[in-house]
């Protein structure tokens, strides 16, 4: 569906006038662009030019000269463009954020040092950072002995890789983006009276050059794109309840502008509007235990909050005990290969090679080429999401199951100025053996609930969770019935996954993205790195359901 059809079908003269204004503004932009032409950092330090590599190698040399036994350096240019909260015909200007930074990590006698600086790097700056990183490591090494073994990895020689996109979103005329979002807003408003929407677009280009004392050097450019909308419905005349449905039009993916314009917006928006309207007339939930059918959006959240976080090896080994917490998979060495953590029908893998995955890379933050990691195989815990050092923590377990000690390429950081650690990557919940779909899982349920989309919160060990469904229907005799309000599903991760009764088949698989929507503009506080989750719908037995809405 061509974006301009949104505007052409609208009866609003004002929108047409705005289109004219937008075209005029585009011309102005083109003119303005020629009036000055600042040298972009990619021209000052082209990624295939000798200057950038020389800069990184200077940092390596400085760290080695200062005593580092291993070191690596990352230079990054992160650009983020956010369009938010279109309000009818008035919309604020997009936010543009560019972060340029360089960081050095050094290992000395088992201790890590890290030094980083934002801004345009120079030979002096990177030299200083190299020395600082080694000096920081030596500070830690003043303590008791510590061992840090790095699993081997292949050297990358002058590697170059870019997310395979079709259309660079940063080359798309802003007028085209505004056209699309205005058209979607108009399309939403035409679905029903009293309904409106406010959209969001976010594009990220993350270019990182990496060098290590092992001899690796590469430059990797990652793109993510996403579009969403908040659909609001005015208060219902009887219940007085309004509704706000946060909808992903094109969830974050490793893709370009094509991901936005090819999203099935026409197909999904009417469903979202219908759901928002239904949310205003909920029936209170009867607390108790139910068999519950979760759609793919809800399963993505649950998977991410349970296995996704619990298998981050840093977390499982206590390295984040003082911050976000630990993991209920608390004894990785003993559990790997033997612990039953889910029903035999359940298999989960981590995959940073996923096509269009938001966390897909060619090399991770340590220069490791990721592989597909079976985390859970037929219900048994099989592995963890590891980095070069943390893979060695599992040496005994790998020896027991006759596998090599290798990093799975899960080293990531929120930014160049944060040290890399193991972070949840793209996840896949393997389809069930049959051809089930969400609809057939509902049809096979005599009495239960159906959950569409959710918000999941977990405790500090990823053990106990609460799932608040975005839209919950009761299931009666295999059919969707009334909309249920105030539903919160309480669960323990092991019982949840062991209670999986059925999974959707291959045709029901959907990939959704989990955004790293920044809590502040420069992303100094984020919700973790963006990642994709490929899941199927699932039916889970006898989960506890409570009502959290205060009744007056």
């Amino acid at each position: 569906m061509h974006r301009r059809r949104f505007l052409q079908t609208s009866a609003s003269v004002g929108v047409s006038a705005m289109l004219t204004t937008l075209v005029a503004r585009s011309a102005h932009a083109a003119h303005a662009a020629t009036r000055f032409d600042p040298r972009h950092i990619r021209d000052v330090l082209p990624h295939q030019g000798p200057e950038r590599k020389a800069l990184l190698l200077t940092a390596i040399d400085a760290a080695r000269a200062a005593g580092a036994q291993y070191c690596d350096v990352r230079f990054g240019i992160n650009h983020r463009e956010i369009w938010q909260q279109f309000e009818g015909l008035r919309y604020p200007a997009p936010s543009n954020m560019t972060v340029v930074a360089v960081s050095v990590r050094a290992l000395y006698d088992g201790y890590w040092g890290f030094a980083a600086a934002e801004g345009l790097p120079s030979i002096d700056i990177v030299s200083k950072l190299g020395k600082d990183a080694a000096a920081q490591a030596k500070i830690g090494a003043r303590g008791k002995p510590r061992t840090a073994l790095l699993a081997p990895t292949a050297v990358v020689t002058d590697g170059v890789w870019t997310t395979p996109i079709e259309i660079d979103p940063f080359t798309v005329d802003p007028g085209e983006k505004v056209d699309l979002m205005l058209g979607i807003d108009s399309f939403i408003e035409r679905q029903a009276p009293g309904v409106g929407g406010g959209g969001m677009l976010m594009f990220v280009r993350d270019e990182t050059s990496f060098a290590s004392s092992d001899g690796s050097f590469f430059t990797q450019t990652l793109y993510t794109s996403e579009a969403g909308v908040l659909i609001g419905a005015e208060p219902h005349y009887q219940t007085k309840l309004e509704a706000n449905r946060n909808c992903s039009l094109a969830s974050v993916a490793g893709a370009g502008w094509e991901h936005i314009v090819r999203a099935p917006i026409e197909e999904h928006v009417p469903q979202y509007v219908e759901q928002a309207l239904a949310m205003r007339t909920p029936t209170p939930v009867n607390v108790g235990r139910y068999d519950i059918v979760f759609d793919t959006d809800a399963m993505a959240d649950i998977l991410d909050g349970t296995f996704g976080a619990a298998t981050e090896i840093d977390r499982a080994m206590g390295y984040r005990a003082n911050t976000v917490g630990t993991s209920y998979l608390s004894d990785p060495t003993r559990m790997l290969g033997s612990e039953q953590v889910a029903a035999p029908i359940v298999s989960v893998s981590s995959d940073r090679t996923m096509l269009k995955g938001a966390a897909t890379v060619k090399w991770d933050a340590e220069g490791v080429t990721p592989d597909v990691v079976p985390l859970v195989t037929k219900g048994v815990l099989t592995d963890f999401q590891t980095t070069r050092e943390s893979a060695s923590w599992l040496s005994d377990a790998y020896a027991r199951v006759n596998r090599p000690v290798r990093s799975h390429g899960c080293a990531t950081s929120d930014s160049i100025t944060a040290p890399a650690q193991s972070m949840c990557a793209n996840l896949t919940l393997a389809p069930g053996p049959g051809n089930d779909t969400f609809e057939s899982l509902v049809a096979s349920t005599k009495k239960g609930l159906a959950v569409l989309g959710s918000s999941v919160t977990m405790d500090q060990q990823c053990l106990n969770g609460a799932c608040q469904g975005n839209l919950v229907y009761e299931i009666v005799d295999g059919k969707l019935g009334k909309v249920i309000g105030g539903t919160t599903i309480l669960f323990r991760a092991p019982e949840f996954w062991k209670g999986v009764l059925a999974l959707g088949g291959p045709s029901s698989a959907r990939t959704t993205g989990r955004s790293n929507w920044p809590l502040d503009p420069l992303g100094t506080r984020t919700g973790g790195k963006a990642r994709s989750t490929s899941v199927v719908p699932a039916k889970v037995k006898q989960l506890a359901v409570v009502d959290t809405i205060p009744r007056t």
Partner: protein, 476 residues
């Protein structure tokens, strides 16, 4: 003549002191002013230019499993450039301070201007170029703390737990920051700040017990790191062999950190709870009717006051608003239990109150009570049956009308019986509202500074009735 010489800084009292032992790691007042002059010179198309700049140098020691496995030092300068032309405005952020980097950010902002609606008749924001308060937020000994000293502090914190066969994890982060707001309407503000975060968790080897303690402050002398380590260690030891207790409503003693964790959803500057515009549009707990809020009504226990004052010795903060440079004045959000004010932005102030200054919620506060302060030991002694909570985790609001929240207890939970702590118990999920809790007050302690990554918060311990623990959450 530059902008800064036309309008001399009213903030000349605090320049950035230099340590003799540490290099210059973040921008001084003079450097920020010079940077602003360059940004103005690089702009095109007239209009106004403003910047909100944070320049920071952070260093820290992070430990886990009894080893300081990571020591780090990070320098960063974040510049938020706003260009306003004819009522339209656009923002771009940058971290480069060279001419090309600044020019690129300005170009982004100026190109984006076209997407904002221009309204020449829009009221021009007049800056409030009045003197700000001058809180002390800088500590030279904190700035001078070097990596070796920091490492030694961390090692001493770990020592006792390691000797006892426990596992310590923690962080000691020290940063020095310069906050600057400059604009072409005459505002030139700068404030240097030091900041320390010190926290530690102690767990047993089996992962069945944990304890935690932490504090943040601008002055490292106000943080007794060894005492924090001892508390975390003690809580871990006293948490061993936890039993389960039935969920339900209990008399609950919330330690100061737990009170702050619960109250955070109310005092969140980005949240809807304290928003006057929202309240007058029937959003949030302080909505009375359409167009009216509950300002003037009792909403908390009559002994409680919540006040934000830049000059507070333990809850002070940078005395001007980040974007406008408007001076912060002390605000009593709640006084003697009465809701006294809600935050509003400048457009609300101009249209509804016919004045130019907004009232922003900065996020730092002091929560105090007129009741005679009571120690936690005394609260325990006067409790027949209850629960003692160290802190909460992952507090999420589930209903904004009542500020009903849910979350988990963490790092130390004990059953109190007959005036004594009888045993450690497994963690709970709770579902309650800070407003409910602060209307069911039985006793209050002395306010103390708590741990928070961003804000200076002071809160007392509280003993409250009928705190609702809804289910067991057996995580450690």
């Amino acid at each position: 003549m530059t902008v800064t010489t036309m309008f001399p800084s009213v903030h000349a009292v605090h320049t950035c002191p230099r340590s003799l032992f540490a290099p210059e790691e973040f921008l001084s007042h003079e450097q920020c002013a010079a940077l602003f002059d360059r940004i103005v010179a690089l702009g095109t198309g007239g209009g106004e230019t403003s910047i909100a700049l944070t320049s920071r140098y952070s260093s820290g020691a992070t430990w886990a499993r009894n080893r300081v496995h990571l020591s780090q030092a990070v320098g960063a300068t974040t510049i938020e450039i706003t260009r306003k032309v004819g009522g339209a405005s656009a923002i771009a952020w940058a971290t480069r301070t060279d001419d090309d980097g600044l020019r690129e950010a300005i170009r982004h902002a100026e190109l984006s201007l076209q997407w904002d609606v221009q309204n020449p008749e829009q009221i021009r924001d007049e800056p409030l170029n009045e003197p700000t308060l001058t809180p002390t937020l800088w500590s030279e000994p904190t700035y001078a703390l070097d990596g070796a000293q920091r490492g030694d502090i961390a090692q001493h914190m770990i020592a006792a737990s390691e000797t006892a066969g426990l596992l310590a994890a923690g962080e000691l982060l020290v940063s020095a920051r310069g906050y600057a707001t400059f604009n072409t309407m005459g505002i030139a503000r700068y404030y240097p700040v030091t900041w320390v975060e010190c926290s530690m968790s102690v767990r047993d080897q089996k992962g069945t017990a944990s304890g935690w303690a932490g504090k943040t402050h601008y002055d490292i002398a106000k943080i007794d790191a060894q005492a924090l380590a001892a508390v975390a260690h003690d809580k871990c030891v006293r948490s061993m062999n936890r039993g389960a207790v039935e969920p339900g409503r209990y008399v609950t003693i919330l330690e100061p950190q737990a009170v702050a964790d619960l109250f955070a959803v109310v005092m969140d500057p980005m949240g809807p709870t304290m928003d006057r515009t929202g309240a007058e549009n029937l959003i949030g707990p302080f909505a009375l009717s359409l167009g009216r809020s509950k300002i003037g009504q009792h909403v908390l226990d009559r002994s409680l006051t919540v006040r934000s004052d830049p000059m507070d010795p333990d809850a002070g903060f940078v005395p001007f608003e980040k974007y406008s440079g408007d001076p912060y004045q002390p605000v009593s959000w709640f006084a003697d239990g009465v809701l006294r004010d809600l935050y509003y932005h400048r457009d609300y102030a101009l249209s509804r109150m016919h004045k130019g200054q907004s009232l922003e919620l900065q996020g730092s506060y002091r929560l105090s009570s007129t009741l005679e302060p009571v120690s936690i030991d005394e609260m325990i002694r006067t409790t027949e049956r209850g629960i003692l909570v160290t802190r909460f985790h992952n507090v999420q609001m589930v209903d904004n009308k009542s500020v009903l929240c849910t979350g988990f207890t963490r790092d130390g939970l004990w059953l109190i019986e007959h005036g004594k702590i009888s045993r450690p118990i497994k963690n709970f999920r709770f579902t309650s509202s800070p407003l409910f809790a602060m209307n069911a007050l039985e006793a209050v302690g002395k306010p103390v500074r708590v741990f928070d990554h961003e804000f200076a918060r002071v809160a007392p311990a509280m003993k409250v009735r009928d705190f609702n623990f809804t289910s067991l959450a057996d995580a450690v």
